[in-house]
């Protein structure tokens, strides 16, 4: 028998065991989803792991109400997001915008840009500067391979809304990183 089912009281009765098995099946990918959502907010692996633990524990407590698979993943993603934001606020760790302070010096050709530390640092700053709804869509989209339908399912909002939020997020991010690119004319 699976360990979770064995840890539940009253396993002589099928209902609890079946539920435990279903929850076990969700353990295959939901912790990763929760972790990555939290990482998108906190940018720290240990903090993201703690948040993912809390989200999964809450999922367990509410599992009897969250059994549909699609709803369950969305619930996990939204819960992890909210818990990560709470953690960020509680720790008062909202750092000063480095990007605003430091001057933007064009330093790379676009091809080399992604690898550069400066690009990642500025991108993180630009992400934090995004309105929350745009940032959430961008994080979930990156996790879901930029599949707008998947993101719409997770957030339970129309796909068109996801598309327009993604457009605005990308536009804003690209604009704030534009200054890093050396303007070399295409040959």
């Amino acid at each position: 028998m699976d360990a979770l089912a064995a840890s539940l009281p009253g396993t002589a009765v099928n209902q609890g065991a079946a539920l435990a098995r279903e929850f076990d099946a969700c353990l295959a990918d939901c912790p990763q989803l929760a972790y990555r959502v939290a990482l998108g907010v906190l940018r720290n692996g240990a903090d993201a792991e703690d948040v993912a633990q809390e989200a999964m524990l809450r999922a367990y407590r509410n599992f009897h109400r969250l059994r549909e698979r699609a709803h369950f993943r969305g619930w996990i993603a939204r819960t992890a997001w909210r818990l990560a934001l709470d953690r960020l606020r509680a720790a008062g760790r909202r750092e000063k915008r480095e990007s605003a302070a430091a001057e933007c010096v064009p330093e790379a050709r676009i091809e080399d840009l992604v690898e550069s530390h400066e690009f990642q640092r500025r991108l993180a700053g630009a992400m934090e500067a995004l309105p929350e709804k745009l940032r959430q869509v961008m994080v979930l989209a990156a996790i879901e391979g930029y599949n707008t339908r998947e993101v719409a399912t997770l957030l339970e909002i129309p796909e068109g809304t996801v598309r327009s939020r993604m457009f605005l997020a990308r536009k804003q991010l690209a604009e704030s990183l534009r200054c890093l690119v050396k303007n070399t004319p295409v040959g």
Partner: protein, 238 residues
């Protein structure tokens, strides 16, 4: 041609958000304008870099100990047998469902005390037809738990669906008839479900058993004949 006019379109085009007609017009312009062409290409590359950068930001997964740690925390969770009651009250199923739970708890407790063989009753209640059914499914030699064997869960969790409450209940051998009667009483409304629900909230507390205070029968006051007549009536009835 005015590059100024098209510079505002470049981001939309690079992000695939420009209308077909506008994109065709921009394409026609870019074909003859190297500045707009390179700018367009640069924004497209930058947007791709942004996508890959955000992907890198959320790459990775929890530690290998994650699931073990989660299971350990789950094992520390209190038993959840009372939890469905809360959900039912919210969806308005309260009286019927809670009553069934109380029935279950009472029987399970009895089973635990006697440690005798038990049977499993499946109680199914629906809020649409207010029906209840108890059926005997199997026999267990050893009821393994005291008060925790009941597990009730909502089978259809989605909003808008008919709520359906299956609960499997251990019933001590010989008391299945009583379980059926009680279930029938709940379904026909002869038993007050609300009262049972209130009892259920206290079901986690130890039961408070009080000895019944039974007054001795009053001495016969109407003489021997009356007592004899009463006894005869009693005998006829039996």
């Amino acid at each position: 041609m005015s590059c100024e006019k098209y510079s505002g379109w470049l981001t939309g085009a690079a992000l695939g958000a420009l209308g077909d007609a506008e994109e065709a017009e921009l394409r026609a312009h870019a074909a003859g304008c190297s500045h707009c062409r390179s700018e367009w290409e640069m924004i497209r590359a930058l947007a791709a870099a942004v996508d890959r950068g955000v992907e890198a930001m959320v790459a990775g997964g929890p530690s290998p100990q994650f699931v073990a740690r989660l299971r350990a925390r789950i094992a520390e969770e209190p038993a959840r047998s009372a939890r469905p009651l809360v959900a039912f009250r919210r969806v308005g199923l309260a009286t019927l469902a809670a009553a069934a739970v109380v029935v279950a708890i009472l029987f399970v407790r009895t089973a635990g005390r006697e440690r005798g063989p038990a049977e499993v009753a499946v109680v199914t209640l629906t809020n649409t037809g207010q029906q209840s059914a108890v059926s005997r499914t199997s026999s267990l030699e050893h009821p393994s738990v005291d008060g925790t064997a009941l597990r009730g869960h909502r089978a259809a969790g989605a909003r808008g669906r008919p709520d359906f409450f299956p609960a499997e209940v251990l019933v001590p051998k010989g008391q299945m008839a009583a379980a059926l009667l009680l279930s029938e009483g709940v379904s026909t409304g002869r038993i007050d479900g609300g009262q049972l629900a209130r009892l259920a909230e206290r079901s986690a507390e130890p039961l408070d058993w009080r000895a019944l205070d039974i007054q001795p029968l009053a001495a016969p006051s109407a003489g021997e004949e009356a007592v004899k007549a009463a006894n005869a009536d009693e005998g006829d009835r039996n």
